[in-house]
Subunit: 157 residues, 2 copies
């Protein structure tokens, strides 16, 4: 399978929303917020929410959303990433993350921050980022909800 | 001095912007962002950025901005607080913080988060929150800029 990474365009949105809705870790209101960031990127030329997609032929496989962290100089955030539920474990997430990292470093990122959940359903996500040389810098128990804490990971350049 | 705490109204804005501009810890772009949150609150009835002001007679002494943390259930943030540079050390910040905490607890806050800077110019701010029973839960070095880390404080209810 040849994976191609490119900036998102308007026509990608329906397939991406299907991927988001079929991602069991995402709550419905999280899918709404992810959709709002996609719209901001597609409609606002000055958007600070950059989106890359992964495709193979005409199949959309996943996407990543990242951008500069407000009020910082050189810190960037990976806000969302999703890979088609049926195409996981094929290196698509890694390709998306590496492409986004290259763009951020080109834009003089010193520090990349990823915030995720401490719940067991996100263990695979945590392992993914640790395997890509992110390290846990903080944990805030019960941040998202009782029993659902925030894990903050970082990678420095 | 009798300190009165009340919700912000449109006529408060010019005096608040003067206080923000005269606060030496705030960088110009931070004053711009604080002003945008004030405008959101004054112009948007559904704003999630609540603002309280402290006054004595007709003197505006300071303000606090707080709101529910997006994507969380029961976590709230204190986003900004400023007290007139000439009226510090008179308990105004404490009155603002206690009033905001009472409002947040009424709204079923479980957890209040405050993010501030690790730089020496914010040592007084750190001591203020520690004295109000906030505790440091995380530090992210170089988050805002090289040498300017983020300190995350929490208080649980």
């Amino acid at each position: 399978m040849t994976i191609n990474i490119r900036p998102m365009v308007v026509n990608d949105k329906p397939a991406l929303m299907r991927i988001l809705r079929n991602t069991p870790e995402f709550k419905p209101f999280e899918v709404v917020v992810a959709g709002e960031l996609i719209d901001d990127y597609l409609e606002n030329p000055a958007s600070d929410y950059f989106h890359l997609i992964a495709e193979s032929g005409s199949d959309l496989l996943g996407y990543i959303c990242y951008g500069p962290t407000p009020l910082t100089d050189g810190t960037w955030d990976v806000y969302w990433m999703a890979v088609d539920h049926n195409r996981q474990g094929q290196g698509i997430g890694g390709r998306l993350l590496e492409a986004a990292e290259a763009k951020m470093v080109d834009a003089e990122a010193r520090l990349i921050i990823i915030e995720t959940s401490t719940t067991p359903s996100y263990e695979k996500t945590q392992r993914f980022y640790l395997s890509h040389n992110y390290e846990i810098i903080a944990t805030i128990p019960d941040f998202y909800a009782p029993g659902d804490g925030k894990l903050i990971l970082q990678k420095r350049f």
